[in-house]
Amino acid sequence: MNVPARLFSSLFWAAFLLPIISGVVLTLLPAFGWLPVLNQQQLGWHIWQQLFIQPSFWAASGLTWWSGWLATLASLFIAALLLQYGFAQQRFALLSRWLSAMLAVPHAAYALGLFALLAATGWPARIWALGSGEQLPPQIALTQDPYGLSLALTLALREVPFLLLMALAAFRTLNLAPLLRQARLLGYGEPQAFWPVVVPQLLPVLRWPIMVVLAYNLGVVDVALITGPSLPPTLAVMVHQWFVDPDLTMRLVAAAGGIWLTLMIMLACALWWGIEKLIIAICMTRQWPRQTFGFAWLAKLSSILLLTAWLLGAAWLLFWAFARRWRFPDLWPEQWQLRSWLRTSSDWWPALVDTLVVGVASATLALVLVIGLLEGVGQLKRWQRPLLFVPLILPQVGFLFFVPGMLARIGIGYGYGAAITLHLLFVLPYSYLLLERAYLSLNLQYEQHALLLSKSRWRALWRVKWPLLAPAFASVFAVGFSVSVAQYLATLYASAGRIETITTLTVSAAGGGDRRLIAVFALLQWLLPFLVFLVMAWVSHWRSRWQRA
């Protein structure tokens, strides 16, 4: 290993491990009774006893377990249907073109947009009321239902694009498309080729992305606050509430709750490993029919659902952002105004700037670190990969809490430095995951030829390899940026609230309840990563045309 390679790999791990280790230690101590600021210095299990007797602690744990699994399995199933029905054969051209853009929508904005369909005051309810002559909204519980179904549905729909993108990338690396073509030529139906041949190869490659989705669904706070049940809420929401409880000693219970949630997530990930084997076994032993019409029908339905949810959600936010008065059951606002934008411009303008600064910085840094790592030391080793996913799997609500104090202590302070450091924790794993795929699918012969011809490693990189990878760099940057934009707790804790991003604005406006202002911020949250995706798509398009010319 040469010097820059060693430098990159140590930088990579320092950016990563320091905050995580300090976060974990600083959460473990209070969970076992150690928090000297509150005169709590008695190590033992008493905090855990207190945790287990919190009202509805077990119900909340159960709800979390149920809704997290339901959401994950549902999104996996939808993604599999779409793939089987022919995503890989471009049958859903419209959907696949918008996939990255759908992925870019931050979760909170997505959940707020989905109210267009789900809420008792959403469009379906309005149409029903206009039809039946009702004045008041129907009393149906499609959001915040006690079983967490709306929460699971929101998360499931939101994660499908991520799983599909990951699967499509794996399709290319595993070179599965020709295999499917051959199978068709030999007279096999789609299900016969997809389930016993593709799925067993695909699932092991998707293991980590699926675990990331699972962990996210179990530990999410903002979406669960918006559309999850409240009696009891999910465990992550409960832990979040304990962290802000006026009774300060509840911080210790919160720390223990955060660790409990982590244990649940780890158990879930381990369980997934077994389930994956089980699914593969079932896929390979079952007799698959030539055609499954139910599946095809379901696949069409889900692709329509994905697109309408996304489009109607955006339209709903757009209408509210420009509405002055919009009462039930009108289908559109009775009065419009620009005022919601103008009066909040002193909020969202600086927030846009801060979002851009932090997002661009952390996405760029992550890109540079990952490229340096991949060029210098190559792929991560088997035992290193799990470490990479630790920040995505640890629930933020637990381990992020004490990290900023630590950062301030070592001089990073509050503000951009701390925010970028924390965002990097979440941007890095995604960037690595996507770029590793791109590197793997790159034909190594190109590099060797280039190296032979130019005789300089740098020139080979600059002239041949990196230009080939440019589209991948662009999309990794865009994903990194959108991951950064979506960070709520990381931003809040890191900057002491001094850096406002569009996401922190959205969540604090959601507390204020003025739907018009929430819509303004959520729409911006929706648009910003979308624009970056468009720019990056344009850049790589332009780049490849320029290359051909």
Partner: protein, 392 residues
């Protein structure tokens, strides 16, 4: 003798004046991070205006750090104390149990509040809550900023006679199933609703002014749970889900999903009508026996970096100029903490010129204010509520 006293008074006054001048000098050029709830654009605009004023008058840069819940900031103070990190907050908007806990855990700087010049303008005689916050003496660790009283709102288009007691509310909910609710405790509006239920259902309410630890709370609060047991089946979603907070209830009132909403600001409905958040037909009311009133304050954390600046800003917040603007429904509509009768004629006029509007309540209509129960009841009400209704 009289002269001597006057002279002594003058001397202390000059001494205080000199000290304040020192504070003003120290504050010059400082940046004050003011952590305050940021959920209302009206309030945010008002704080922006305060920022412009203190910049022009005292050369202080005021940064409004918008928080969703001030308990977040208390957590932050705790984390800073634990790690020994530099303070990130200079001034915070606070009251009630958050204050009680922060004070008890030495997270606040003080006492300082009684030394700021405008302290003498406060209506200490008539407003007991200015120095006693949820039964906890403020002891100069926080400075009053505004007055609040629990009020209810209804849309006169759908409701002709709003229920003006908890007993009537139960009948109203029975007649309009699924159209009544309250924010879920421990949201602070929800907890206030529970306190209001306690005031209207307990035979002897004086017990609420004592620390809860001195009585058998299960027995004392039995009528509260009895009432809620009867009420819950008729609530929105059959009492299986609750709105998160009062602003959400306001939106639901606008949608017609709920027929009643509540607020801590008697002018809230009017400001909401003015900016299109609620229809013109919305009106406010309170319960016959009065409703809970309290005061909100500003406090300075133990590790504030710009302590002098924070004091100067706090003093400006209770200046007649700032309070008159705050009381105006055009801007915020938050009732003043000052003794308006004692102010000079021009300022008094500024207060009297404020138009209330049909959706708001005048100070006469607000009549009886009930004192906040002792802060220890908050924890008791919230945990017993959770034990009863959080577990299904």
């Amino acid at each position: 003798m009289k002269n001597w006293i006057a002279a002594a008074g003058l001397a202390t006054a000059t001494l205080a004046g000199a000290q304040w001048q020192e504070t003003l000098d120290a504050a010059k050029g400082q940046t004050v991070y003011f952590n305050a709830w940021g959920g209302s654009p009206l309030i945010n605009e008002y704080i922006d205006w305060v920022g412009e004023q203190v910049e022009a008058q005292y050369d202080i840069e005021l940064v409004h750090v918008k928080v969703g819940d001030i308990a977040d900031s208390i957590s932050r103070l705790l984390s800073e104390k634990a790690t020994g990190a530099q303070g990130s907050i200079d001034l915070m908007w606070i009251n009630g149990e958050n204050f009680a806990n922060a004070k008890a855990n030495d997270l606040l700087h003080g006492p300082w509040a009684e030394e700021v010049p405008h302290y003498s303008l406060l209506d200490l005689q008539n407003k007991a809550t200015l120095t006693i916050d949820f039964s906890v003496p403020t002891d100069g660790y926080e400075l009053p900023w505004g007055m609040a009283q629990l009020v209810f709102q209804y849309d006169s288009e759908f409701v002709s006679e709003p229920p003006t007691s908890m007993a009537q509310l139960l009948a109203f909910a029975e007649a309009n199933p699924g159209r009544v609710s309250y924010p879920q405790p421990p949201n602070f509006y929800g907890t206030t609703f529970l306190k209001q239920v306690a005031y209207e259902t307990l035979a002897d309410t004086s017990v609420l002014q004592q620390p809860a630890s001195q009585v058998d709370t299960e027995q004392v609060l039995a009528p509260v749970w009895q009432y809620l047991d009867a009420l819950h089946p008729h609530l929105w979603r059959g009492g299986e889900a609750f709105p998160a907070n009062a602003p959400q209830m306001k939106q639901m009132l606008n949608d017609g999903e709920l027929l009643l909403s509540l607020s801590f600001n008697p002018n809230d409905a009017q400001t909401a009508v003015n900016n299109g958040e609620l229809p013109e037909s919305v009106r406010s009311y309170i319960h016959q026996g009065g409703t809970i009133g309290n005061t909100h304050f500003v406090a300075i954390p133990f590790n504030a970096q710009s302590e002098a600046g924070a004091q100067v800003v706090a003093n400006f917040l209770i200046s007649p100029q700032a309070q008159a603007r705050k009381a105006d429904t055009q801007y915020w509509g938050d009732p003043t903490v000052l003794n308006v009768a004692d102010l000079d004629a021009a300022t008094k006029q500024a207060f009297n010129n404020i138009e209330v509007g049909p959706a708001a309540l005048t100070s006469e209509e607000l009549s009886a204010t009930l004192l906040e129960p002792h802060a220890s009841w908050v924890e008791v009400l919230e945990s017993q509520w959770a034990e009863r209704y959080l577990v299904r």
